[in-house]
């Protein structure tokens, strides 16, 4: 079964067990059980696990005493409810007494003035009905569909838009106070609006943007789609572009794909320019002057999905550093920390040395996207995945490590100042970072990631790598400890494996040779299951072999 099918299959089995399954779903489940070779086995394994969970979790619950857990409170509330709820008395049918529902209705007193009032009211109603029926009312023509929204709050004067609602070109603007909304025009142009924004649909191929940000994806059949603003007009020529209209009248156009025509100015001073992918322009509202600015794809949200709550800004990518401590790569993970190479668990300890005996591959079961961690050493027949795949070309190493993979930028070193890890002075210190001090290895489970982000393909791995600048600073220090001056110090190798096979071996880096940071980009296919990142000492000396990965990301595509 594919990862996605397996995920759906599990969900269907849970629905079946809970009794919440419907006819359509049971038909799908039957189809899978009939057609997928290992579905029946998977079904039985899930049920076996269900039985075992009932036994193990119940046993654990029996040993819990006291405590005010949310669960305990909930159960206590349910129990209390049962005790105090009033008894419901059910009367047998013969005990029902007949109740006469008739009441005395006062007779209506008739008089002339009230009759006239009634007749006038009736006439007015009739007249109004005729007016409504025959006078033309402009409800506008349907030009687009409201597709989706995430955290959208609309201004009070606007009724909230609902998914699937058809939108018209009548002269009413929509005010999105905050959040994100997606509209699909009838010409197939799609627009994502980021609040606060005010906009109006002019036709099936034209939008007025009073202020706010929009991102337009315009397929070939929708060429000619126009975004109007006070400062200028953008005419699409088959592209993806973002428009940011400021309340001070300044407009920015950023073109990410294809090309557009930008028209600025009034009747007498209109200028037009072609703006292509990778370029951006700013128009100043008062003067209509156009200037070039850097194109920034991250300014605009280009995709939203209310089902999973995703809001994608710029390239769809996952932060691999955040996964090391249990994050999902999409949401910021406030939990920084270290992953212990000896146990596969999160740790706060920093210790070093050589273990008494090889510890082998440590499966990390608690963080869904991490398969395992290890200390690489050829002599131990290095296994790099939970399925037993081996790193055949693993070099002989010291077999020693700083026993964790860290995602913390500041690391204390006894006797020295705290180091801030960064590959350059321009590094974005808020971005994810991983310290793979030799000798260490970590394996990511790409299948688990694909299952979680179903609907997306993991198409590539990318990272910046190198020594942190702090180490180079240390070298310059005349009082630097002799250790760091040793020629054996600060040389490290970086391997990237996919399913146990070397995809890239970065040439040995050396502090003394001032190796500069680099970037790797490894394409990935749907069949790739495991991605391993490994640092090894190159000379059986791992002092100051600090391999830092910055912006380690998995790139997704739909």
């Amino acid at each position: 079964m594919s990862d996605r099918t397996e995920y759906d299959f599990t969900e269907l089995v849970l629905l079946l067990i809970q009794g919440d399954i419907d006819r359509e779903q049971i038909a799908v489940l039957e189809s899978l059980l009939r057609s997928e070779p290992d579905a029946a086995t998977h079904y039985l394994e899930l049920l076996e696990m269900y039985i075992e969970l009932s036994s193990q979790v119940s046993a654990e619950m029996d040993t819990i005493n006291g405590g005010a857990s949310q669960y305990d409170t909930f159960l206590q509330a349910l129990a209390h409810e049962e005790k105090v709820a009033p008894a419901v008395e059910i009367c047998p049918p013969e005990e029902y007494t007949h109740v006469d529902l008739r009441t005395d209705i006062p007779r209506w007193k008739f008089n002339k003035s009230s009759l006239i009032s009634v007749l006038v009211s009736i006439a007015a109603m009739f007249f109004f009905a005729v007016m409504v029926r025959f006078l033309p009312v402009n409800n506008g023509k349907e030009v687009a569909t409201f597709v989706d929204c995430v955290d959208a709050k609309w201004a009070d004067s606007n009724p909230p838009l609902r998914q699937g609602m058809r939108l018209t070109d009548r002269s009413v603007s929509h005010v999105l106070a905050s959040g994100f909304a997606e509209i699909l025009f009838d010409n197939h142009a799609s627009v994502i609006i980021e609040g606060p924004a005010e906009f109006q649909l002019l036709s099936r191929e034209q939008l007025d943007l009073f202020y706010g940000k929009i991102y337009a994806i315009v397929p070939p059949e929708a060429i000619g789609f126009i975004v109007n603003s006070e400062a200028g007009k953008v005419i699409d020529l088959g592209t993806e572009f973002g428009v940011d209209m400021n309340t001070n009248g300044t407009m920015e156009l950023h073109v990410l794909k294809g090309k557009t025509i930008l028209a600025a100015g009034g009747e007498s001073d209109k200028t037009t320019q072609e703006v292509r992918a990778g370029f951006a322009k700013r128009i100043y509202g008062r003067t209509h002057a156009i200037s070039s600015i850097p194109c920034d794809e991250k300014l605009f949200v280009n995709d939203i999905d209310s089902k999973d709550g995703y809001v994608w800004r710029g390239r769809k990518q996952l932060d691999m550093a955040s996964m090391v401590t249990g994050g999902d790569g999409y949401h910021p993970n406030p939990v920084l920390g270290k992953l212990d190479l000896l146990t596969g668990r999160r740790t706060g300890f920093l210790h070093t040395g050589k273990p008494d005996k090889p510890v082998g591959y440590q499966v990390v079961a608690s963080f869904p996207f991490i398969d395992g961690v290890f200390i690489p050493n050829r002599g131990d027949g290095q296994i790099v995945t939970s399925t037993g795949l081996r790193f055949e070309q693993c070099p002989e190493t010291l077999g020693e490590a700083f026993y964790n993979i860290s995602t913390i930028r500041k690391i204390p070193v006894e006797g020295f100042e705290d180091y801030t890890l960064a590959l350059s002075d321009d590094s974005d210190l808020s971005a994810g970072i991983m310290l793979l001090h030799a000798n260490s290895g970590i394996t990511y489970d790409l299948s688990a990631i694909r299952r979680y982000y179903h609907g997306f393909k993991v198409v590539a791995f990318e990272t910046d790598y190198g020594f942190p600048t702090a180490l180079y600073d240390k070298l310059k220090n005349a009082d630097a400890e002799a250790l760091i001056q040793s020629p054996d110090t600060g040389t490290v190798e970086f391997y990237i494996l996919v399913d146990g096979q070397v995809r890239r071996k970065v040439p040995t880096m050396s502090i003394r040779k001032h190796s500069t940071p680099g970037t790797v980009h490894i394409p990935l296919s749907p069949q790739d299951r495991f991605l391993s990142l490994i640092s090894t000492d190159s000379n059986r000396n791992n002092n100051f072999d600090w391999l830092v990965l910055e912006n380690a990301t998995l790139i997704l595509e739909e």
């Binding site: 629905l15 067990i17 919440d20 039985l44 193990q56 619950m61 037993g388």
Partner: protein
Amino acid sequence: MDTVQQLQFIELYTKSQKNIHLYILSMVHCPSDAEDIMQQTAAAMWQMFDRFQEGSNFIAWGISIARFRILDYRKHKQKHRLFLSEDVYQHIIDTMDMERICRTSDDRASALKGCLKQLNESDSRMLQMHYGGGVSYKKIAKELGKSTTGIYKVMTRIHNTLHSCIKKTLMLWEAGAYE
């Protein structure tokens, strides 16, 4: 039944209970109903133990007693519950390798124990609410102020995580690579 036979029954039943329970649950799906049928089956097995041939397959014998109760159950419940088609049930039965299930049952239980310890607090609490407290997904959703669909997604993820963890652990034990 004399004392020796009673002890013999208890020993055989204790070893095979989980397997017979698995068979029943795979055929009726509803855990509480499966437990009821399991108890009925156990009672019937106890009463008919003198007919059991020593040395023959106790699990298979227990399943044969459960089978009629299962068919009876489905017949009476079909108006109120959805069941799979008969050919699908037969396919599941044909796939069921009781010998392998028996052989790996203890290992799977041990692996699960280890995997449960590695779950985060939130996931553990969800499992405790359902398995420990018998709270349905719908009630959990209501209690936590979430949608039922959302709870299903979380539970699906947790079950898949545990299933993968068990598989990984067993593979490593087999490879002798896990310490």
